[in-house]
């Protein structure tokens, strides 16, 4: 049972690590631009 729990923890830790890597990749890329200082705002931009 302890081994199973340890495997679960390792799996979760790997997922956490991969998420951190993916997050850093994502933040390094061009972020979605929020419109700034427009007089009138669109509902959205395609």
């Amino acid at each position: 049972m302890i081994k199973v729990i340890a495997a679960c923890v390792i799996g979760a830790a790997l997922a956490g690590g991969a998420t951190v890597v993916a997050t850093s990749l994502a933040t390094e890329s061009t972020a979605t631009a929020e419109p700034v200082n427009e007089t009138l705002y669109n509902y959205g931009d395609r």
Binding site: K3, L14, A22, E34, Y43, G44
Partner: protein, 630 residues
């Protein structure tokens, strides 16, 4: 069903909610695009509504009713929590029911359910609709797994029991309103027609849909709303990954608004990982269909394919022309213009498919008819518990990793989409304006300026585009420009004409300056003449809800400031000009709403459960057979 199978689905949904929403669950209001909650939303005002299609009914009415007993920001947090919790738990339990029926849920199925629950609420569709602020649509989306199972159950239940289960499962869609009901029909309709006793199931499902739709259906019949075909171009799906529009849609993204894409989503590595996960999930679904088709196999596959087809219509020019022609023919086809919305059944298929991948990883093969796991795959027969100690440990680790994989490949949704869902407090000036209007018993509408629907509020320090909160803040009829202006890819813009006839009339009288959207030409240039024009429209107050340089009310004798701050000015129109009517709700609309509320109360009381999953029904017919695959 044991304790883990009862608790784990809700835990998965709740954990996903906390991870995704994070700061949004704190004090304050999360404002973004269509997500607009205000303190003390007025129930009578919501019910009286505006001209045009009643899109805010009944979601805003439910929020207003809850706001009578809870602060508005708490209501919002509960609504957002419900999206993830209901959705995650629903997908989890749907998979468990499809594999094990009402029997005991073995460990491998719990793991597969956890993966399905996570995948269902953690995907680009949810992220993009959340960032677009469409919480009511997402509430309907969260209810889809429950609706699908209720349709499956209807086939083997007595009509009254089937109907009560259906109405109960449609409560989230009932709250969500029009789009949510359409999604429910698309997702579960084919299942009703594909399952046993199809005509009875379909009839009951249709009746349940009508019952929960009455609050918006009745007023819409008399609204005379028209749909502008220009919306087809504006709201068509688009590419938000390097894989084009089709690849983006297959990965459950492709929303029309680039501002609703999670941060970093289009980055090639994570986008590719996301696409591979979708492909693996679809392969898992195909494997499940091949090995032991689940009760929803055909119906849900048809729904997903149909939804994907609708989404694709907007991608290609002939499809857009076809849609525009349909809308020109009958405005009721208008909802098809935002095609990406119809990916919802595909999202459910992919979530169940990821669960099937886990079953495959665990060598736990489902048997036909939802009777558990096959004995020759390591289980102890139908609904048996598999001996986990016999599993290689690497596989256990891989299973846990796979459960979290939807989060790994879409990190942009974490913690309020990287802070994009940060709560803010309403400035004192806004609350003072609201209180001043509320203290006035005299009838008369509120007109919101500048004559443009969306604002770039900087209350959190960063500009956030949101529907002007002044459109819902006041406890009386509000006139605002409901035209939707969408920036096109070529730098221009598309204007989708709004539906409120009184707003169109106001625009004609105001003749707003195209640069400032403030009164600027013709008679409206003279503030006293403007007050007379507005009074004729029944306007008692004018709200200027943005910082403006043009103080058009200066020197006016018939427009007096009540509140005057940098981003909120409340002007009172002189009483002598006002010809106000009281907005009333018709008896037919009240009756429609009461019938829906009564049906929901009846269904919950009859089911004795929430949303129809709790109470096992006796299984009869073909679905009860235990078959071992060859």
């Amino acid at each position: 069903m044991g304790a883990p199978a009862r608790v784990l689905p809700w835990t998965v949904g709740l954990v996903a909610a906390v991870l995704a929403l994070g700061p949004a669950l704190g004090p304050g209001y999360v404002l973004r695009y269509d997500m607009l909650f205000v303190p003390g939303l007025s129930l009578p005002t919501v019910l009286a509504g505006a001209d045009g299609f009643p899109r805010a009914i009944p979601s805003d009415a439910v929020v207003a009713a809850l706001s009578l007993v809870l602060p508005g920001d708490v209501v919002q947090a509960l609504a957002l929590l419900a999206v993830f919790t209901l959705g995650g738990a629903g997908a989890f339990r749907l998979l468990a029911r499809l594999v094990c029926g009402a029997g005991r849920v073995p460990g491998p199925v719990l793991a597969a359910g956890a993966a399905a629950g996570t995948a269902y609420v953690w995907n680009p569709f949810v992220a993009e609709r959340l960032l677009l602020g469409q919480w009511a649509v997402l509430l309907g989306y969260a209810g889809l797994p429950w609706v699908v199972w209720a349709v499956v159950r209807t086939a083997s239940a007595r009509p009254a029991a089937g109907l009560s289960g259906l109405v109960c499962s449609l409560v989230p869609a009932a709250v969500g309103g029009f789009s949510s009901v359409v999604l429910s029909a698309l997702t579960a309709g084919p299942q009703a027609l594909a399952g046993p006793r199809r005509w009875r199931s379909a009839g009951l499902f249709l009746f349940a849909l009508v019952l929960v739709s009455l609050p918006w259906l009745v007023p819409s019949l008399s609204s005379g709303a028209a749909t502008d075909p220009a919306g087809v171009e504006a709201f068509a799906a688009r590419s938000d990954t390097p894989f084009g529009a089709v690849g983006s849609l297959l990965a459950l993204g492709g929303v029309w608004n680039s501002g609703a894409v999670p941060p970093g989503y289009g980055e090639p590595v994570t986008a590719l990982a996301r696409l591979l996960l979708c492909a693996a999930s679809l392969a898992g679904w195909a494997w499940w269909l091949y090995r032991a088709p689940p009760a929803v196999g055909t119906g849900l596959s048809v729904s997903a394919a149909a939804g994907f087809g609708i989404a694709l219509l907007g991608v290609f020019a002939p499809g857009r022309e076809f849609l525009a022609a349909l809308i020109g023919l009958w405005p009721g086809f208008g909802p098809l213009r935002d095609g990406q919305l119809y990916l919802a059944p595909l999202a459910l298929v992919q979530a169940l498919g990821l669960g099937a991948v886990l079953l495959w990883l665990l060598r736990a093969l489902p048997v036909r008819g939802g009777a558990g796991l096959a004995a020759d795959t390591g289980g102890t027969g139908p609904a048996g518990e598999r001996d986990r100690s016999g599993l290689p440990l690497w596989r256990v680790g891989a299973v846990v990793f796979t459960v979290f994989l939807p989060v790994v490949v879409l990190p942009g949704l974490l913690w309020g989409a990287g802070g994009r869902l940060a709560p803010v407090q309403y400035p004192d000036s806004w609350l003072a304006a609201r209180d001043a209007v509320a203290a006035d018993d005299r009838p008369g509408a509120v007109l919101v300026l500048p004559w443009s629907a969306y604002r770039g509020l900087e209350w959190s320090g960063e500009p956030v585009v949101v529907l002007d909160p002044a459109t819902k803040l006041f406890d009386r009829r509000t006139l605002w420009n409901d035209d939707l202006r969408v920036g096109a890819e070529d730098g221009g813009s598309v204007v989708v004409t709004g539906e409120d006839a009184r707003a169109r009339e106001a625009a004609r009288l105001l003749e707003p300056d195209p640069e400032t959207a403030l009164p600027g030409s013709g008679r409206s240039r003279d503030p006293d003449a403007l007050a007379e024009l507005l009074g004729g429209l029944g306007v008692r107050y004018v709200v200027v809800s943005a910082p403006v340089d043009n103080r058009f009310w200066s020197g006016a004798e018939t427009l007096s400031p009540v509140v005057e701050e940098s981003d909120m000015t409340l002007l009172e129109v002189s009483d002598q000009h006002i010809k106000a009517d009281k907005d009333d709700i018709s008896g037919l609309e009240v009756t429609g709403g009461l019938v829906t509320v009564g049906a929901i109360i009846w269904s919950i009381a009859r089911s004795g459960s929430s949303l129809g999953f709790q109470r096992p029904q006796p299984r009869t017919g073909r679905g009860a057979r235990k078959e071992i695959p060859k």
